[in-house]
């Protein structure tokens, strides 16, 4: 009984229909929160007492970096579920993640670089946080290259899933890099125990942007997942009905 939801998530027609129904909600919620977060971050938040208005980069940098990690963990968990239970939908979900993750890792690196130029005096430094985030980009790109190098979809699913699962060791390294090593990068100011080190006028827009990017990821994942399911269900009769409905 408790496991019925899990079995239903293994059913491609069920997941396809569920994703179709959910996408507009996530799209509009993400769009509304992005507008609110941008207004809060650019207009309502006061300038930082040390960094002036340069600190406003945080409202695009932190959500992008959060997105890159969230996408990777989602991809690795889906890949592991696909490997362990041979679940086609899970492989489809993992395959949907890679391009999203790679692009937001680039956003995190590039906005961090622009932020670092004035605050650290350099666009790039071979720093533990920066290097581990760069490795995350290579993991996403390697995953995509591996998939496109294997023609057989099932073999591509299994091989790339293995890569995704092994690469997950990089995620705690990224998160703790600023604590384990001497890093130029600041330590976490939101994702830590106890009170965040930021006044509410600065913190609230950041939390809104983090929530917005989380919803954006779910939206992007659901749209791509539907495509991946269609690609895997080559001859299923439900596809005829599903496509006729749209």
């Amino acid at each position: 009984m408790a496991w019925t939801w899990f079995h239903r998530l293994a059913s491609p027609p069920h997941v396809y229909a569920l994703a179709s129904r959910l996408t507009p909600w996530f799209a509009w919620a993400a769009a509304a929160l992005i507008v609110a977060g941008l207004y809060g971050g650019l207009v309502l938040a006061p300038p930082d007492y040390q960094q002036g208005d340069d600190f406003r980069i945080i409202y695009v940098h932190a959500p992008s970096a959060w997105m890159s990690l969230m996408v990777y963990v989602t991809m690795a968990v889906a890949a592991a579920v696909g490997l362990i239970w041979r679940m086609k939908v899970a492989h489809a979900a993992a395959a949907s993640c890679a391009a999203i993750g790679a692009s937001f890792t680039i956003a995190a690196l590039a906005t961090g670089s622009l932020w670092g130029r004035k605050m650290w005096g350099t666009y790039w430094e071979w720093d533990p946080r920066l290097v581990s985030e760069l490795i995350l980009l290579f993991l996403f790109l390697g995953y995509m290259a591996l998939r496109s190098a294997i023609d057989d979809l099932q073999r591509a699913d299994r091989a790339s899933a293995l890569l995704a699962v092994v690469g997950v060791v990089n995620v705690p390294i990224i998160h703790y890099s600023v604590l384990w090593w001497n890093s130029l990068h600041q330590a976490p100011s939101v994702m830590k125990l106890g009170k965040p080190e930021m006044p509410a006028a600065m913190l609230v827009p950041l939390l809104i942007m983090l929530a917005a990017f989380t919803l954006l990821f779910v939206y992007l994942l659901l749209v791509r997942l539907r495509g991946e399911i269609l690609r895997r269900e080559r001859t299923a009769s439900w596809i005829r009905e599903a496509l006729a409905d749209e």
Binding site: D54, R56, F104, V223
Partner: protein, 54 residues
């Protein structure tokens, strides 16, 4: 307004950060929708060609 755009002298770093992130968000939406549209078109073509129901 011009003071807002000036960003306390950090305009050259703040605005490119926001522009780049926005471009990546928009591109992701376009790519995801295009990927689904292509999969749908392929599935339709397969159905027409084979009448491929098991």
């Amino acid at each position: 307004m011009s003071e807002f755009l000036y960003m306390g002298g950090y305009a050259a770093f703040v605005w490119p950060s926001y522009a780049l992130t926005l471009v990546i968000v928009v591109l992701n939406v376009i790519w995801a929708r295009r990927s689904l549209a292509r999969a749908r078109a392929d599935a339709r073509r397969r159905l027409l060609r084979g009448g491929a129901t098991p």
